[in-house]
């Protein structure tokens, strides 16, 4: 534990040191400290991967040290001990993901910021906020006190808000950031209410005591007061956390905030910050215990619907970052669905479903974090180099940036849930679990919807990512500005690829025993289930399945590599693309654009994608000027949020006559206020 404090202090110290220097050196120093910190985190959390005996880490636990040596001289440390920080293996897992992502961001950040005009104080402020964001998340993952959790949650929200504000001159950025902070505070408010209710009942903020208190509730008898409180708390916390996770119908902040923020921040937000929502859900489950079956079903449906709406919107996007952001909505939806099915499995006593869905959460989360981070970082490179983020005006990047294209090819395969990457393995696991559920419990409505939705989501994801990769990187460049063939920075390329390699390695079956250990530790906390809670058989079954899965995957990769090597030996002759005899100089515009690629699909899903087409076309004999323009606005924002905001604005506009700007009027208001107060007190006395 002390190492965590130590490294956070190093990071903050490094940030302040970097303030002393000028732009380029400042960036290098900050990245150096960030790399150092994330390496420390990486080492500590990967000790956990290598070493199966988790308690060996306990000598780092300051709390225990202090409680054992109860001397008066250690008052200095007792502040720390009261804060209840504790290392849990699930927290360490999240820190592991965080450390890899922040390591890559540290390598990437100098490149990105160097190409932006930004003055010194702004940059200082940005760096400070980033380090604050990182430290608050690390502490959030380690705390075992609800109050501290709440405070850190708020720090995280505010610092990420300021991080988005990187180029705050643009009105789009300001709008997005304000939308973000409002949504975060609704989430914060809900969690605050939950915490207050919790404290009212338990009388303590400590996780352990809350857990003990709620374990008294008998899960069979639903009508006791305590169970009602449990359900209420569970719903409040869940809504609070899924706002952070970006779940439909609260997802609309996400596709606004991601494109507005600088690339390293959108990468960090999408891979780490929104994932704290899932961590929060785990904490809720640990503290309060299981909700009812209906509740689990609702979570599953919300997750699946959110994933479907997210990917339907993603596939129709032409802005790179908006596309990736909507794809994050999809992935967050799948994560929530997996969480729901783990509860569903627990309540139905189907431990295979429980185990595989939690394992799927870990693998899916890890793979998505790394691949999405890599995709966002490369999106930043594209926007920087071409000054353009519209897929309709991109294309042919493979001829200019070969390394970038390679990284994007791999991350596209990974994110569109194709083998052998973790997103696919997560879906494979959950489908196996539901197939197992069918064989044991018969067919019911939940497995049917799961199969239908996962299939649909898979199909549309494939559409979205083929569009993204094929129109963005292949063919010819569609834009007007000249771009030059360029080899990217070594560090930059490394930061793009290392995450993908990590994603591939850590979703493989070599590490399943580690994930099982986390799940065991989580499961032991459900002490009311301990009587029949042995997961050994299920673990063996999963290991058996994945051993054969990896055998065939290795065969697959080996065959592919052999064919690939043989194939690259072929002698080629290059010719111009044959376009059925059409000779035109402007052959570049003959390509399919991103919009035309998905046109048949948009016509099917029109009500859900919220795309408006403006056309100026006449029935004409001779060619005249005509244009076509598409505009996108999220359906939830358009149909539900904007009317509410308009109503509020209307109300306040009516009140705006109060603010006349004259001092006399304001004094008059004060006078009226005093008189009203006096009258009220008089009435009370009478």
């Amino acid at each position: 534990m002390i190492i965590f404090y130590f490294s956070i202090i190093i990071l903050i110290f490094g940030t302040f040191v970097s303030f002393l220097f000028k732009k380029n050196i400042k960036l290098i120093i900050f990245s150096g400290f960030l790399i150092l910190t994330s390496l420390i985190f990486l080492v500590i959390s990967s000790i956990n991967f290598i070493n199966n005996n988790f308690p060996t880490l306990n000598f780092l636990n300051l709390n225990r040290l202090i409680s054992q040596t109860n001397t008066g001289n250690l008052d200095y440390f007792s502040i720390f001990s009261n804060l209840n920080f504790e290392i849990t293996s699930i927290g360490l897992f999240f820190i592991f993901v965080l450390s890899v992502v922040s390591f890559c961001i540290a390598l990437y950040m100098p490149y990105y910021i160097r190409s932006h005009l930004i003055n010194q104080p702004q940059l200082n402020f940005h760096l400070f906020n980033f380090s604050l964001l990182l430290s608050s998340i690390v502490l959030l993952l380690l705390t075992s006190n609800l109050l501290i959790f709440l405070i850190l949650w708020e720090i995280m929200g505010i610092s990420s808000f300021f991080c988005i504000f990187f180029d705050g001159q643009k009105s789009k950025t300001i709008n997005a950031a304000i939308l973000y902070i409002v949504m975060m505070h609704i989430s914060f408010l809900l969690i605050l209410i939950g915490t207050i209710i919790c404290y009212n009942h338990v009388g303590s903020f400590s996780f352990e005591k809350i857990q003990l208190y709620f374990q008294q509730a008998n899960s069979l008898d639903l009508n006791t007061d305590l169970n009602k409180v449990k359900l209420l708390l569970f719903s409040i916390f869940t809504v609070g956390f899924i706002i952070k996770l970006g779940i439909f119908p609260f997802h609309f902040w996400l596709p606004e905030a991601h494109p507005a923020s600088p690339s390293h921040i959108s990468s960090f937000m999408s891979s780490i910050v929104i994932k704290t929502g899932i961590y929060g859900l785990f904490i809720t489950l640990n503290l309060i215990g299981l909700p009812t079956l209906t509740f689990a079903k609702i979570i599953i449906f919300i997750g699946l619907i959110s994933a479907l709406i997210g990917i339907i919107n993603a596939a129709s996007q032409t802005q790179i970052k908006k596309f990736l952001a909507y794809s994050s909505v999809e992935n967050a939806g799948i994560l929530l669905f997996l969480f729901g099915s783990s509860i569903y499995g627990l309540i139905n006593n189907s431990f295979f479903l429980y185990l595989s869905s939690i394992l799927a959460i870990f693998i899916y989360l890890l793979n998505h974090a790394f691949s999405k981070s890599s995709a966002f970082l490369s999106a930043g490179v594209i926007i920087n180099e071409t000054k353009n983020d519209d897929l309709n005006l991109l294309g042919g990047l493979v001829h200019y940036y070969k390394d970038l294209t390679g990284a994007n090819l791999i991350s596209s395969i990974s994110l569109s849930a194709l083998p052998p990457f973790g997103n696919f393995i997560g879906e494979l696991l959950i489908l196996i679990a539901y197939a197992n559920y069918i064989t044991n419990y018969g067919f019911s409505i939940i497995p049917f919807f799961v199969f239908l939705f996962i299939g649909l989501i898979g199909g549309i994801t494939l559409l979205g990512f083929t569009k993204y990769f094929a129109t963005g990187f292949l063919g010819k460049f569609r834009g007007k500005s000249d771009i030059k063939k360029r080899k990217l920075d070594v560090f930059l390329t490394f930061s793009l690829y290392i995450q993908l390699i990590f994603a591939l390695i850590f979703s493989s079956s070599f590490f399943y025993n580690f994930y099982f250990k986390i799940i065991k530790e989580l499961s032991e906390k459900f002490s009311f289930l301990s009587g029949n809670f042995i997961l050994e058989a299920e673990m063996l079954a999963i290991n058996k399945i994945f051993n054969s899965f990896y055998k065939i995957t290795i065969l697959f990769l080996a065959l592919f590599i052999v064919f690939w090597l043989l194939y690259s030996l072929i002698k080629l002759k290059r010719e111009k693309t044959w376009s059925c005899g059409f000779i035109s100089k402007s052959n570049d515009n003959f390509q399919y654009t991103a919009n035309s690629f998905v046109e048949p699909y948009i016509s099917v899903f029109k009500p859900l994608v919220g795309i408006k087409v403006k056309k100026k076309e006449k029935e004409m004999v001779f060619i005249e000027d005509s244009y076509i323009e598409t505009e996108h606005q999220d359906i939830v924002q358009k149909n539900f949020i904007n009317p509410i905001i308009e109503k509020i604005n209307y109300f306040f506009e009516k009140l705006s006559f109060i603010q006349s700007g004259r001092t006399q009027d304001y004094i008059l208001y004060g006078l009226i206020f005093l008189i009203i107060i006096i009258i009220i007190t008089l009435i009370r006395y009478i």
Binding site: V398, K402, T405, L409, S412, S416, A417, L418, P419, E427, L428, L431, I432, A435, I438, T439, G442, F443, F451, L452, G455, L456, G459, I460, L462, L463, F465, T466, K467, A470, L474, G475, K544, S548, L555, F556, F560, F563, W564, L566, Y567, K571, L572, K573, R574, E575, K576, T577, S579, C580, D588, F590, Y592, S596, F597, V598, E599, P600, Y601, V604
Partner: protein, 310 residues
Amino acid sequence: MEERLKEFIYFLLKIILIIFSPPLMIGIINRVKAIWAGKYGQSILQPFYDIIKLLRKKTIRSNTSSFVTTFALPLQFVSNLIALLLIPFGKIKPFISFEGDFFFFIGLLGLSTFCQIIMAMESAGSFQGMGASREINFSIFIEPAIILLFSSMIFYTKSYSMNKMLMEFGFLSLEKIMVGVILGISFFLLILIEGKRIPIDDPATHLELTMIHEAMILDLSGKDLAIAIYSGYLRIFIFSLITSNIFIPTFISTNLSILFLILIIMFISIVVGAIESLFPRVRMNHIPDFMLLVLSLSVIIIALMFTMNT
């Protein structure tokens, strides 16, 4: 010893079937079409000759294509091949099988589609883009349909590896006969859809407005084209194999099942050929109807299961 010899013979048989049946199927289809049209027709082995011819030719590629094509073509071929290895041949076990491999199978098909699309988009032509766009847009509804079809088989056979699912689905009760017939129809439609045959797509057409698959491989030549065509043959063979596995009775011996399998695959080829001679290709805006038809058939099976078992 005898057991081992038997296994070895089966192994060889499977390899021979995998290598030679896909082009032979196409040969039979073409021959049936020719006979129906009153011609003598080409040899059944013609697809082999075509592929050998293409393999000997020089490969010309568009100057807009890059390492992505070199990456995508072998990946497409290998993923189709591995998908084929997961399916049993009658009562002979597949090469590899594990519980839950049905989704791995679907993932491999998805990977192969992904490769085909990016390969087509590499040529920067309008026709290739058109074909790729049509292909990927129409295939959205295929994946849920296949998953639902498999899930009904999971329910009836109480197992979730493709090996057992396909082998143990017997037509032993009225319910199973009903479900089995719908399953057969759905998978037969999938042969036409995935094999890019009439009425969904015409492999012989060169009219730009109606091309889907042909438009995508329009710019390929030589060895590239040979591999792309062979991958297409593998795709149609995969679905024919699944369809025929459903209809093989559960009670016959292993040797007999192989005979049955070959007969059913031949029958399927003849039926496909007959359909190609009798039906015209449908209009482009009616093609999604076929995908939705398969999806609705799969939902009907699930509805049937619900009503029969509750």
